[in-house]
């Protein structure tokens, strides 16, 4: 039930509903073939994305995290992506200090019409993560091993 062994890595995308999720849909409607590693979490706005979601994902098992929102000035909520831009940019600085390759996290802007661009972003980011390989994970508490029972079955 986990990622396909040897073929896929675990990439999580946080996409704003109005632009980038739509852009990913547009790419789908256009049948723009993409690698299958990415799993998308839909959020209303890139401003909703607490940078800690990214850190959580990276620390707890993701090999890469991609955030995409509306282009600056094009936010459905006017300002959300402006806040996001600052916060995402700042949180990136934490990765090298933790020993996590900063290339494991990228953010970008894709509008609902940019299906092609989305395809390109997914392709290049997935390739980038595959180049980096599986991420090292800090050990979890042994007493929580039971939580992985599902995977074992």
């Amino acid at each position: 039930m986990s990622v396909l062994k040897g073929q896929e890595l675990r990439i999580i995308g946080f996409l704003c509903n109005w632009c980038s999720y739509g852009g990913a849909d547009t790419a789908g409607i256009g049948r723009f073939v993409q690698p299958t590693d990415l799993r998308v979490v839909r959020v209303p706005c890139s401003g909703r994305i607490n940078p800690l979601f990214i850190m959580k994902a990276l620390l707890y098992g993701a090999d890469g995290v991609l955030v995409s929102g509306c282009h600056p000035r094009d936010c459905h909520y006017a300002e959300g992506n402006f806040y996001a831009r600052r916060r995402l940019e700042v949180i990136k600085a934490l990765l090298p200090a933790l020993g996590i390759d900063p290339r494991r996290f990228e953010y970008t802007w894709v509008s609902a019409s940019e299906g092609r661009r989305w395809q390109h972003v997914v392709e290049s980011f997935t390739m980038q993560i595959h180049d980096l390989g599986p991420a090292r994970r800090l050990p979890d508490a042994p007493e929580l091993d039971v939580l992985k029972m599902v995977a074992a079955e």
């Binding site: 508490a141 007493e143 929580l144 039971v146 939580l147 992985k148 029972m149 599902v150």
Partner: protein, 360 residues
């Protein structure tokens, strides 16, 4: 030392210590004080890496018997693939703990378990429930304490009924002598550990030197005030808000004091789950946190830090002794003082309480 009967005695020269520890580590986890980063902690012995005795460990050894976090049991909701509508529940208790030895703990660490024992054995609540997890570990773990020579400025074990070379709560006592260590077992479990070819028989002279060392260590400690009146004094001050407000002014409400304390035994229970599987965790908890007593409704009987500090001091020097034969649930190790970012001094609070109560 005097209050306990010595079951057996051995001597080990310093050169043999690593080999003996390695021998002990066969089939057991041996915990020793080890330098970690900028501090000394009780960590599993690693061959080739000698215990660190030049500094006293920052933490107590209680995590060996009472882990910071342990899974009490796991649960799994099994769906029947044929009929997903029926869901059974699978509960399984966590595995039994293995054998362990703590070597080189302090006397105060051993006395800390004294505070645990009656509570976790159900004595405090007159036998209603035995904590099988702690008791099993207690049974499986042998404790060799090492006598202290010089006190730290924060030490006050002798105020609380202990001493720098007490073996209370331990299985054996180790004392540094020239060229080696004298080992004196006070329990059968301790004696069994001393059955090793790496150890040589101890002499009466060695025991005499040890006794002298113990006496010197006791002497090195400043004189101790009487805390006999503490239980009543603290109860008497229960409603004295100003007193507790002043005592707690510097408190930051963190858990450093309680987590490093050898006698603090409070815990929390939380569930963690993922999908259909989960576990119930028992984790250390601290009465210094407002959340400790916060009720779901938002009501909190100990809303401010004064009330919480009062509970910590009160529990150790009043409520606990009133249930447990007058014994304090404080071993005087001073770790709460040393580890407190604000240097809150529990000794001073108890003395202040005695004074304040006397003044009233």
């Amino acid at each position: 030392m005097s209050e306990q009967k010595i079951v057996s005695r051995k001597f080990i020269s310093l050169g043999y210590l690593p080999a003996w520890l390695e021998e002990l580590a066969l089939g057991r986890t041996v915990y020793v004080p080890r330098q970690e980063g900028r501090t000394v902690l009780y960590r599993p012995f690693v061959p080739g890496d000698l215990p660190e005795f030049s500094r006293r460990p920052a933490e107590s050894a209680k995590h060996v018997l009472f882990p910071r976090s342990e899974g009490l049991f796991s649960f799994c909701r099994k769906g029947d693939p044929g009929a997903p509508d029926t869901r059974g529940l699978l509960l399984s208790e966590s595995a039994e703990p293995g054998q362990a030895v703590i070597f080189g703990a302090l006397s105060c660490d051993a006395r800390g378990f004294f505070a645990f024992d009656p509570v976790y054995d159900g004595c405090g609540t007159k036998g209603i429930a035995k904590d099988v997890y702690y008791l099993k570990r207690r049974e499986n773990t042998a404790l060799i304490v090492k006598a202290c020579k010089t006190p730290l400025s924060t030490c006050f074990c002798h105020w609380t009924g202990g001493g720098p070379a007490s073996a209370q709560g331990a299985d054996a006592l180790a004392t540094d002598l020239d060229g080696g260590i004298l080992l004196q077992a006070v329990t059968k479990k301790g004696a069994a550990l001393l059955e090793s070819a790496k150890l040589s028989p101890a002499t009466d002279d060695q025991e005499a030197s040890a006794r002298a060392a113990h006496e010197a260590a006791v002497k090195a400690m400043p004189s101790s005030p009487s805390l006999d009146g503490a239980p009543e004094a603290l109860l008497g001050l229960f409603d004295n808000k100003a007193f507790w407000h002043a005592q707690s002014a510097g408190c930051l409400s963190c858990g450093a004091c309680t987590y490093l304390c050898p006698t603090c035994y409070c815990f929390n229970l939380t569930d963690e789950s993922n999908g259909i599987a989960g576990t119930r965790l028992r984790t250390w908890d601290t009465c210094m946190s407002a959340l400790f007593t916060m009720e779901a409704s938002g009501h909190n009987p100990r809303r401010d830090k004064a009330a919480r500090l009062k509970n910590r001091v009160g529990h150790k020097f009043s409520y606990y002794p009133r249930i447990h034969d007058g014994r304090f649930s404080c071993c005087g190790c001073g770790r709460c003082i040393r580890s407190c970012p604000s240097s809150v001094d529990i000794r001073q609070i108890v003395l202040n309480a005695l004074k304040e109560n006397a003044d009233v």
